[in-house]
Each structure stands twice: as structure tokens, then as C-alpha cells.
Symmetry: C2
Subunit: 341 residues, 2 copies
DNA sequence: CTGAAAGCGCTAACAT
DNA sequence: ATGTTAGCGCTTTCAG
């Protein structure tokens, strides 16, 4: 292993000088000539600084933890990619952890953080397990950024403009001529769930239509919960002609259950889902979706975490750009007939 | 921060003794009484060892990198979970990276490894980008375990018993009474692709049936490629009554394209797919699948990586347990009629 | 403008 | 059976 003293020897300077040149110390004053010598010595020896030594010295690990409820979720992949990209640019590394560990055994995080292996945490809490698991983190001395959940608390947070996304979906159905539009939402115990519902109601209002309670569900975002939502809807009254589903995973379930009932999409009912992932294109019919800036959410989370570093007050940002984008496929069309459940 | 000398002071022993007690040094000989004192001192002060210092001293980072082609893939989530569990038990941490970085910019891995931030790499190469990207790793001094790809090379590898999985699928269709069975496989350039195809042919042979070239495709595992496979199949001749799809993602596409052609599943054709993930249950009809031991693959990868540590010769293991498990849903039934494309 | 030296917290070899 | 000590490779204050 080639170390800093090897470089300094070759360049005929002190180790300290090498360190300063290589890390681009702003208060650095070296002759252009020395700098060149250091740089080329480092290159010649293909010097790579040792991370552990640097971490020990600076007490920063350059590791961030990304904790999500479910790695198979549509949301995750894009989010992770955004986080990774941003992390890469800042020479950080993303450590993966599943959120269950928070519930059952928050000691994992505690320990890892205590050991100094993690400089910050990007956390998406499962809708199910709220406040308490967060508080367990708050009193720890790691910066935390909460993703897609409550904003306004003592912990910094980042959310998407869910309402805007839902509005795009509603507008799309409306412009196709739908006047009865239902909503398959997430749990009203979750902040995202409430934001999306509010967005839905506002969007409907803005267009001069009416919401009907029996056209709205709040079962959840999973595929199974989507199926259940349709069952509920059908047990109530007439179906709307259009349906906004607040999550693509749930929309798969919705589609399945609708098929199971021998109804046709979009013939009997049109469907738009929030979030756009590859499998939106592999359903039948291919699903019209609204693509949200998940990647930007991930990259912004990393940035926020780093800006956060000083013990500044918590920040709460909303990611609005790029704006939600309608991806029209085949699950929506002009309304035809109305179906009784 | 409480350090080891704090603990040793409180326990009235030397730092060295504390280190040995706490890390369970096998060659340790301390009186039971001292050990107790050390342990309780550590507990009282809630001592947590500093990871950077330990890493510097031992030159092991306790980080493993998990590199996969696509985080949204069915395979990934279970794999990652298995790896994580095993890693957690051994006090290791899993660092996430996307495989694209290997193609475009292998410097990321090189650098991170050079800095000593990674002790080992679990690598699933994309079918597209083979040998070269691996070789870039081999001459590096990190242990690497290759997942789901070629076995037998200079790098350790771990594969599933794909043939066994395919056989379960074929047997299922056969036992339902299917005698014409097709195969939607992966690229024949990839090792998994070839293993699964071989498994298919052997399984068909073993049951005294015949394979027909026009019933087999090798387009790929993605949803879009699944659609394409069906298009190819239909452009050829009569469809088989049953179809084994070598990957669940492709199976979604298969299902979509079949619907698009106004054929019915399982009425016109039965489908079984390899791999079982939540969305198998959210398709219409819900997909009959074969669940493979992906979790074990992940956990075994971690183990292998660690056993590998010494520069022992590369090992090549096949994960056979738990055995592939048939998950019967609704995409398979007794054959009815035969369809002409 | 550059060098010297201390020390981050831990472990392991060597003493006792 | 336990204590002492050197040093992992780096950064950074303090002198020069």
C-alpha cells in the first residue's frame, strides 16, 4: 500500500504538504511548482488515501444510510438511484438497510451510528410504524432526513408535491370527459395518504366536480390493498367512470380485481396511477401513470443531509421539479357506460 | 465519546485487557471476575467501539458492496434481504451500487476498494456486459463473488439450481395434462439463460415429451422482452398449451401481450413463471410461479465472501435448498383448446 | 510558503 | 493472568 509519506518522499516535501495539496485545502498557499511535483508524484505512485485513517482523523465516515420500508416498491429504485448519484458526486457511499430493523431492533442503527459508521440517515418510515421509531433516532446525534412522510417536525424532511401529481391525474380524466372520479388512496394515518387525498379533493373542486365518499378508499398502497379497495368500492354503489390510484403498486391490484369482476379497463372504468415504473408498461392494459420526481427526491435528500451537518434547525423542503408528468398509456379513455357493483 | 481507556480506567484494568474481553479473543485468559468488571464497566458507560479506529488498526472495513444490474428486478429484493441478514449477523454492512457504474466508470469500485472502504464484492453482472467488467475486478485485491452467472472461472461464484426450478414448472404443467409446452427464456449469451434452457429441455425429455424450436424464445427477462417473445411465438405456428417463462418480469409482459391478442389465460394457454414476488399475486390472473431460494443465495454470498478471505482458490457453489417451490395461483389449468397464431 | 509532530481510538506483540 | 507500548495513515496546529 502506498501511503502519504511515500508520496511526500518522492516529491521532496512533507506529508503535511501533500495532504493539503491533495485535499484542495482552501487556505493553501504553495508554489505552483511544488503543487505540480506533489500531484505528479501521487499520480506516478497511484496513491489512494486510506479511508479508515482519514475517517479516524476527521471522525466522518462518508457513509449514509438509506432506510426504506420495502425494497421492491416502485418508489424505491428511482429514489435509490438519485441518492446514489448524488452520493457518488460527493464521494459518499450509500448503505442499505431495511426498515423492519427499526421496529424490531432499533439497536442496529444505534450501534452503527454509535460506532461512527454512518454520518447521516435517509429514512422512509413505513406508514404502519410512525413517530416512535423516528424519535428513537432524533435524540441520537446523526442528522436525519425524513422522506415522504410528515413535514414540520423536529427532523428535517423532504416530500414530493403529491397534490400536484394527483391533480395531473384528475385533470387527465376530466379532460377525457369523466365527471365521476373515484380515488384509491393510502392510509389516512399517513402523511402522504392525507396529502394525496387533499390533493384529490382540491383538484376535483377546482374543476367544479363533486367528490363522493363512496368513491374513495384509504386502504393502502400495496397490491393486495388495491384489490381490497376495489372490493370495497363495489360493495357500496355505482362505480365512478374514472379512478385515480395513489400508488402504482395498488393500481396493479386494482386492475387485477377489476378483471376478476369481469369489468373492462378502460371500457368500464379508466385508471390513472401515481408513479411510473417499468411494470406500468407490462400490465394489461398498459397503465397510464403520473411520473413523479423520485430521483430528484433521492439526490436532494443527500444534499439536505450534508447541508444539515451543522446543527442548523430542521429544514422542510418540497420537491416540485421536474413537475409531475402524465404518461398516457391505455388504461384511460373517454368514459362510456356506468357500472353498478 | 467514551473510549476504551475510559472503560479500562473504570474497571481498573488496562485498555488491552478491555479490548480482548470485548472482542472475545479466543486465546484469552482472564479471571472470571475481571471479565465481569470489564463487561459491567462497558455497560455502565455504554461504550461503543469506534469503527474507524478499529478499521485502521485491522485494515478491515466491515463493508461489503452489493452490485446488481437493476434494483427494481424481482430477483434483487430477496437477494438483498438475505445478504443483509447474514451481514447483520456478522456485523457487516451492505453498500449499494448499481452495475452501470461498472460499465461506464469502473473507477468508482477501484477507488472505493483502493481506499479500503470495501472488503468484498457481491456482483451480479448484467447479461449484457460480461467478462471484461469482471476482469477489471479480478486483478484488484478484493474477494469477489459472482451471482447468477458463469461458474467455473477464476472468480468464486454462486448460482441457483435453475434447472430444478424449471423442472418444477414443467412438471406442474405436465401433471395438469399439458403435452405441448413452450419456453420463454433469457438470452442464450448469458449463463443463466443457458442453464434454464437446458433445464427445460431435460425436463421435457424426462417426461417423454418433445421440444419444438418454434415454441422457444430467448429474447430476455424484462417485461418488454416478454411481450416481444409472445409476438415471436405467434408469428411462427400454433401456440403450445402451456408456457414456462424463465423470469417473472418477462411473464408480466407475456401476460400483457397475450391479453392484447385477445387470448385467455389459462383458458387458451397456461403460464408458469420462475421467481415469486408480490406482484405475481397482483397480475390478472394471479400468476402461478416457482419460488426460488433467492434469500439463501444472498446470505450464502456473504458467507462465501468471508470464507474466501484468505486467498484460497475460487469456490463455485450451487444453492439447492430450500428446493424450488411451486406456488399455484390462477394462470395455469388443464389444457382446453389449441390456438393458432 | 513549508516542515515537524502530535494524536484520533484501537489492537496485538511483547513484557511482566 | 494482565499491563505496556508501538503504530495503523492521516490531518492539522504550531513553528519556522
Amino acid at each position: 500500500m502506498v501511503k502519504i509519506s511515500d508520496v511526500s518522499a518522492r516529491a521532496g516535501v512533507s506529508p503535511g504538504a501533500v495532504s493539503r495539496v491533495l485535499s484542495g485545502d482552501p487556505t493553501l498557499r504553495v508554489s505552483e511548482e511544488t503543487r505540480e511535483r506533489v500531484l505528479s508524484a501521487a499520480r506516478d505512485l497511484s496513491y489512494v488515501p486510506n479511508h479508515a485513517a482519514r475517517a479516524l482523523r476527521t471522525s466522518r465516515s462518508s457513509n449514509l444510510a438509506l432506510i426504506v420500508p420495502d425494497v421492491t416498491s416502485a418508489v424505491f429504485a428511482e429514489l435509490a438511484r438519485g441518492a446514489e448519484e448524488q452520493a457518488g458526486m460527493r464521494d459518499l457511499t450509500i448503505v442499505l438497510a431495511r426498515a423492519e430493523q427499526l421496529d424490531t431492533d432499533s439497536s442496529w442503527l444505534r450501534r452503527v451510528v454509535g460506532e461512527g459508521r454512518i454520518d447521516g440517515v435517509i429514512l422512509q418510515v413505513p406508514d404502519s410504524a410512525p413517530e416512535s421509531s423516528i424519535e428513537a433516532l432524533v435524540d441520537r446525534d446523526v442528522p436525519v432526513v425524513l422522506i415522504n412522510s410528515m413535514s414540520g417536525g423536529p427532523v428535517s424532511s423532504l416530500v414530493l408535491d403529491d397534490a400536484a401529481g394527483i391533480r395531473v391525474a384528475v385533470d387527465h380524466l376530466h379532460s377525457l370527459g369523466h365527471h365521476s372520479i373515484g380515488f384509491v388512496g393510502g392510509s389516512s394515518r399517513s402523511a402522504t395518504g392525507r396529502r394525496r387525498l387533499r390533493g384529490f379533493i382540491d383538484a376535483i373542486d377546482a374543476l367544479g366536480m363533486e367528490t363522493r365518499d363512496e368513491w374513495m378508499t384509504d386502504v393502502g398502497y400495496s397490491g393486495a390493498e388495491g384489490r381490497q379497495a376495489v372490493t370495497e368500492l363495489l360493495s357500496r354503489s355505482t362505480l365512478p367512470t374514472g379512478l385515480v390510484v395513489a400508488n402504482l403498486n395498488a393500481a396493479l391490484g386494482v386492475l387485477a380485481e377489476i378483471h376478476a369482476r369481469d369489468l373492462r379497463v378502460p371500457g368500464d372504468i379508466s385508471i390513472v396511477a401515481l408513479h411510473d415504473v417499468w411494470y406500468a408498461d407490462a400490465t394489461w392494459p398498459p397503465m397510464t401513470t403520473v411520473k413523479m420526481p423520485l430521483r430528484e427526491l433521492g439526490s436532494e435528500a443527500v444534499s439536505l443531509l450534508l447541508d444539515q451537518k451543522a446543527d442548523s434547525p430542521p429544514e422542510h423542503r418540497v420537491i416540485r421539479a421536474p413537475a409531475p408528468e402524465l404518461v398516457v398509456r391505455s388504461s384511460t379513455s373517454v368514459p362510456t357506460k356506468r357500472v353498478t357493483g
